[in-house]
Assembly symmetry: C3
């Protein structure tokens, strides 16, 4: 049985540090058996990986990679509350893509998040997903991902 930790190592991935809580909100909250993360931006070592907007300044491929970075940040937020091996399933991803008005490829961008979840969690990673294109995101990020996980 491969653990989530072993899977991350196989994939050459390391969980980032959890971003310090800003204002009166926190990276993740547990309610019953669900952990709900805050919306995660594609920060790598405190720097945003790709800036707005997909379709003009950022390619779909760059945004796809950035969506994967958001997922790692979301998992770090989950891991701040429980061991990732206690995650029974990933329930939902909400993916917001800062889009130029003509860009309609949000599903491909969101696949950068969905496929990474699948690689890390296997069948337990089969999640519901809503992907939408928004006008603009905090700090001019190109993508924001929130995650709901069910834990033991």
């Amino acid at each position: 049985m491969t653990t989530v930790h072993a899977r991350l190592e196989e994939l050459g991935l390391t969980l980032p540090e959890v971003a310090a809580p800003v204002a009166a909100y926190v990276p993740a909250v547990q309610s019953g058996k669900q952990i709900i993360t805050s919306g995660q931006l594609p920060f790598v070592n405190g720097q945003l990986a790709a800036l707005c907007k997909v379709g003009t300044d950022v390619t779909p491929e760059e945004a796809q990679a950035a969506a994967g970075v958001c997922v790692l940040n979301a998992l770090a937020a989950v891991a701040s509350l429980v061991d990732l091996d206690d995650v029974v399933k990933i329930v939902r991803l909400g993916v917001f893509v800062a889009s130029s008005p003509e860009f309609t490829g949000q599903p491909a961008v969101a696949n950068g998040a969905s496929e990474l979840v699948g690689q890390i969690f296997g069948e337990a990673g089969a999640h519901a997903r809503a992907a939408v294109g928004v006008a603009v995101l905090p700090l001019n990020a190109c993508v924001e991902v929130e995650l709901v996980a069910e834990v033991r």
Copy 2:
């Protein structure tokens, strides 16, 4: 006692086929007693019913009808996991309306989803709802609906 199936028949409605899972996400996930669907687009037989954006290319009435189509697709997703008669209540609808910047009639569009849920589920269909206007939706759809149901 009218069942949901009988209500659908009375309304002349048929549940569509569930869209095949794309990438590593699925039409709906159960977590505890909740079923969370993926964001549903107004597909009718594999074709999008109305294309972006409400306020310019699509009338509010067309978008309202499309929101109802999204609900049927969401219920098909729920029905892929449980019998619809095991739905205790519809908990939440999230309605994203691809809007021209001046269009502020998202509630009327979302009523196309809410009222159909009410017709099908009666009192058990009284749900919480968030309706917002977004810049653009996947595949240039005019509306996207996600649904949370509570089951027995």
Copy 3:
């Protein structure tokens, strides 16, 4: 032990009347131990507090105050189902900010919601949050907030 009611009084805040249900949706729904509110607009006595869009027509400070108004409306929705002292924690805030395309200060606007929740609920108010910038909101509102609370 200060109750939520006492805290509201100390802060000089009064819960507004719950907006009457429109169409087939309701202000809030309970599912298990969670209460999910509908998206709340910054109504004060039936009038919208600030109209679209942040970055042009509305200052970030005005939008921040409006986000607090949305929270009061959301708590009124929760209080229509349970006593606020039965709230164990605030689980999640979803904050949608109607933004001009260049405005990237959604977190500061959302802090108007988060900080008020913190003032009212203390540690039990430490919530997960997703803040995004959208093209346009219902009735041209500048901000919309939805809230999930866990109750006893």
